[in-house]
C-alpha cells in the first residue's frame, strides 16, 4: 500500500517538475514582454528603479515568480523526488530522479552565472528542455513498472 502511495507520489512530483519548467519558460517571456512594452511606452528602468522593491510594470511579478520557483520550489521538489525514489520499486527511478536533480542544479547555476556571462543564459534555455524531458521520463518510469507487473510470477 505504502509502495503504491510512493509510486504515485513519485509520478506526481516528476510531472509537477515538468509543469514547473513550463511555468518558468512562460514567466520569463512574460516578464521580458512586459519590460519591452514598458520601455516601448517610454518607461525607463535603471538599477535604482529595478532595486526599489516596487513593481515598475505589471508583468514584473513574473520575474519574481521565476526566481522563487527556480531557486526554491523546483530544487526542493527535485530533492523530495530523489528521496521518494528510494522507496519505490520502479526500475531506474533513482537514476531518473538523480538526473532531474542534477539538471536542476545545473539549471540554477546557469541561470545565476548568466548574470555575469549572458551566453550561459542561452544554455539555461536549452537545459530547460533537457530538464523538462528528464522530468517526463521520470514520471513515465512508473508506467513502465505497471506494464511489466503482469510479467512477474505471482506467488500465493
Amino acid at each position: 500500500m505504502g509502495k503504491h502511495l510512493m509510486k504515485l507520489a513519485y509520478k506526481i512530483l516528476a510531472y509537477f517538475i515538468a509543469v514547473e519548467v513550463a511555468v518558468q519558460a512562460s514567466m520569463v517571456v512574460l516578464g521580458d514582454a512586459g519590460l519591452f512594452k514598458y520601455i516601448e511606452q517610454g518607461g525607463v528602468l535603471d538599477k535604482a528603479a529595478a532595486e526599489s522593491g516596487a513593481i515598475q510594470f505589471p508583468e514584473f511579478f513574473a520575474f519574481i515568480v521565476h526566481g522563487i520557483n527556480g531557486m526554491m520550489v523546483i530544487p526542493a521538489v527535485a530533492l523530495i523526488l530523489l528521496i521518494v525514489s528510494f522507496f519505490t520499486k520502479i526500475p531506474r527511478a533513482v537514476g531518473a530522479a538523480g538526473l532531474v536533480l542534477g539538471l536542476v542544479v545545473l539549471q540554477v547555476a546557469l541561470g545565476l552565472l548568466g548574470h555575469s556571462i549572458p551566453a550561459l543564459g542561452a544554455l539555461h534555455g536549452v537545459n530547460a528542455l533537457l530538464l523538462f524531458s528528464a522530468a517526463v521520463y521520470a514520471a513515465r518510469r512508473g508506467r513502465a513498472a505497471v506494464v511489466s507487473t503482469p510479467a512477474q510470477p505471482v506467488r500465493v
Binding site: D46, K47, A48, A49, E51, S52, V108
Partner: protein, 504 residues
C-alpha cells in the same frame, strides 16, 4: 522463498532509509547550525582578520559567534566614550519626529510609509563646516523602533546610529540625541539604520548639506535627492521635474543624492563640472559634456552647471526622463538622451596629496564578495559570501588607531554591490589593476560591479566599531555585512535584545 523476499524487501527499505538520512541529515545539521541566537554582539561574530599585523590580544576569535578578540587583559574602551565635546553649545539644533503614517507626495499620490516632521524626505539639515550639529530624534509611532545614521559623515562612533552596534533602537515614545561636528563641507544624507532595508525604502531619510565656511558667491545651491516611493520616481519627494531659477551665465551646484538601493546616473543638457563625490571635493575638475556620471546607491555627486548666456534652460536628468530644469520657471528644456559614455573617475581631475602613504600600509585586507547556496538563519537560499564565508561567519577587520589600511574589494557574485564603509572615507587606488591617475577619488559608497576589483586605502583615524556593508540594503539583510573594529574598543549594545535591534 517468501521469507527471502521479505528479508530482501526489508533490506531495501533499510537502504532507502539510510539514503534518505544521508541526504536529510547534513541538511538538517546545516540548517540547525545556521540559526542565530536571539541576542548577540557583533564583536562575537565571525573571525578576526588582523590584516597581516601582529594581533594585540592574541587570536582568541574564531568560528561562528565565538569569544571576542578583546582578552581580559586588554585595555578596553566602550564606544560610548567617542563623543563630540559635551560642553560645546550646538550651532545647529534640530528635532526630528518620526511617524508611521500615510502621506501624500506633491502629485497627490498616497504613500504608506514613514515621515520625519510630517514629510518624506525629512527636512534638509543645513550646517556650515565646523559647526556642531545636534539632532534630537523622537519616535512617535514607528513600531519597530528607529535610529539615524549620518551617511558619509565621519562622526564619533557613539552617534553612528547603527541599532545594536552603536545604540539601541529608539522605541515608540523614546528619543535620542545625536551630536557631531560637521567638519567637512559636502553633501550627505541621513537615514534609519534599524530594519533599514524596509525603513529607508519607506521614507525614513533626508538630506544633510554642509556648506563651506567661505560660501561661493553667485552660485545657486540646490539639493536633488532621488527616492522611489512605491515605484514612483521622485526628486526631493516630487514626481516630475524640479524647477530651479537661475539667471543666464550664473552657476548652479546640483547636489544629487542617491538614496536608492541601486545605481543611477546623472547627465545634463549642457557642459558641467563634477565638483564633489561622496561629500568630498575633487581636485581640479574640468568641464565635461556628453557623458553621464554614474551614481552609486547611497552615494552623492555634486555637479556644477554654468547657465548658457543666451538664457536657455538646462535639463539635468537623474536616471530617467525627469530630474531638474535649471533656468526660468516658465520655459521647459527638452530631454537629452542618456550619453553612451560614463565619466570615469579613475582619471578625472588632477592628483593631490592624500595625507598618508598608501604604499606603506600597516594592514592589508581582502573583501571578496561571492555567492553560494546555504542556510541564512535557517532560510535556505543562495546567499552572499565575504571571503568565502557566509553571514555570520564573516571577517571582523581589526585595525589600530593611526594605521594606514589597504583593502582589496572584489566581486565575483554575479551582481553589482554598492559597498559602504561607515565612519571613514577611503581613496580609490586602482580598478582591475589600472591605477588612478586623476584627482584623489574619496568614497564612502563604492559601486563594485560584478567581475571588478578595487584597491582602496584609508587612514584608521576614527576609533570605534563600524559597519562595512552593501548599501543595496536588502543585500545587507541577506548577510552582506562585515565590520571594521579598532583594537580595544568594545560595544555594550547587542543585536536583538529588548529593543529588537536589527540594523539591516
Amino acid at each position: 522463498m517468501n521469507a527471502t523476499r521479505r528479508r530482501g524487501a526489508r533490506i531495501r527499505l533499510a537502504l532507502a532509509g539510510i539514503a534518505t538520512l544521508a541526504i536529510i541529515g547534513p541538511l538538517l545539521w546545516l540548517w540547525q547550525s545556521s540559526l542565530m541566537p536571539g541576542t548577540y554582539s557583533v564583536m562575537d561574530m565571525g573571525y578576526a582578520d588582523h590584516g597581516g599585523a601582529q594581533a594585540m590580544h592574541g587570536s582568541g576569535h574564531s568560528g561562528h559567534l565565538a569569544a571576542g578578540p578583546g582578552g581580559p587583559s586588554a585595555p578596553t574602551r566602550s564606544l560610548n566614550e567617542f563623543i563630540a565635546d559635551p560642553d560645546r553649545k550646538a550651532d545647529v539644533d534640530v528635532t526630528l519626529v518620526a511617524r508611521k503614517q500615510r502621506f501624500k507626495l506633491a502629485t497627490g499620490r498616497s504613500v504608506d510609509g514613514y515621515t520625519l516632521n510630517g514629510t518624506s524626505p525629512g527636512p534638509v539639515i543645513n550646517a556650515t563646516a565646523g559647526q556642531l550639529v545636534q539632532v534630537r530624534l523622537v519616535n512617535e509611532s514607528v513600531p519597530d523602533g528607529i535610529t539615524l545614521h549620518w551617511h558619509g559623515v565621519d562622526v564619533p562612533n557613539s552617534v553612528d546610529g547603527v541599532a545594536g552596534v552603536t545604540q539601541d533602537a529608539v522605541t515608540v515614545g523614546g528619543s535620542h540625541v545625536y551630536r557631531f561636528v560637521a567638519d567637512q563641507a559636502g553633501t550627505f544624507w541621513y537615514h534609519s539604520h534599524q530594519v533599514s532595508h524596509e525603513q529607508v525604502q519607506r521614507g525614513l531619510l533626508g538630506a544633510l548639506v554642509v556648506a563651506p565656511a567661505q560660501a561661493h558667491a553667485g552660485t545657486t545651491d540646490v539639493v536633488a535627492l532621488l527616492h522611489l516611493y512605491d515605484g514612483a520616481r521622485t526628486v526631493n519627494g516630487r514626481e516630475g521635474d524640479v524647477r530651479v531659477d537661475a539667471s543666464p551665465g550664473s552657476r548652479v551646484r546640483v547636489r544629487v543624492i542617491n538614496t536608492e538601493n541601486g545605481q543611477t546616473s546623472v547627465w545634463a543638457g549642457a557642459p558641467f563640472r563634477l565638483l564633489a563625490v561622496d561629500g568630498t571635493d575633487l581636485n581640479d575638475p574640468g568641464p565635461v559634456r556628453g557623458t553621464a556620471v554614474p551614481l552609486t546607491a547611497g552615494g552623492r555627486a555634486d555637479l556644477e552647471v554654468t547657465m548658457p548666456e543666451d538664457g536657455s534652460p538646462v535639463r539635468v536628468h537623474i536616471g530617467g526622463p525627469t530630474g531638474l530644469v535649471l533656468g526660468s520657471r516658465s520655459h521647459d528644456a527638452p530631454p537629452v538622451p542618456r550619453p553612451t559614455t560614463n565619466l570615469d573617475l579613475l582619471g578625472y581631475g588632477t592628483p593631490a596629496p592624500l595625507g598618508f602613504d598608501p604604499d606603506q600600509p600597516d594592514r592589508r585586507f581582502t573583501y571578496e564578495i561571492g555567492r553560494r547556496p546555504g542556510f541564512l538563519d535557517g532560510m535556505p537560499g543562495i546567499w552572499w559570501t565575504v571571503n568565502g564565508h557566509m553571514f555570520p561567519d564573516v571577517p571582523m577587520f581589526v585595525v589600530a588607531e593611526g594605521d594606514v589600511v589597504r583593502m582589496r574589494i572584489s566581486n565575483q557574485s554575479g551582481e553589482t554591490h554598492p559597498m559602504h564603509l561607515h565612519g571613514h572615507h577611503a581613496v580609490v587606488l586602482s580598478r582591475n589593476g589600472v591605477p588612478a591617475t586623476g584627482s584623489p577619488w574619496w568614497v564612502d559608497s563604492l559601486e563594485v560591479p560584478d567581475g571588478d576589483s578595487f584597491e582602496i586605502a584609508f587612514l584608521a583615524d576614527n576609533p570605534g566599531i563600524w559597519m562595512d556593508h552593501c548599501h543595496n540594503l536588502p543585500h545587507a539583510a541577506e548577510g552582506l555585512v562585515a565590520h571594521l573594529m579598532y583594537e580595544g574598543v568594545t560595544t555594550p549594545f547587542t543585536v536583538g535584545g529588548p529593543n529588537h535591534n536589527k540594523p539591516e
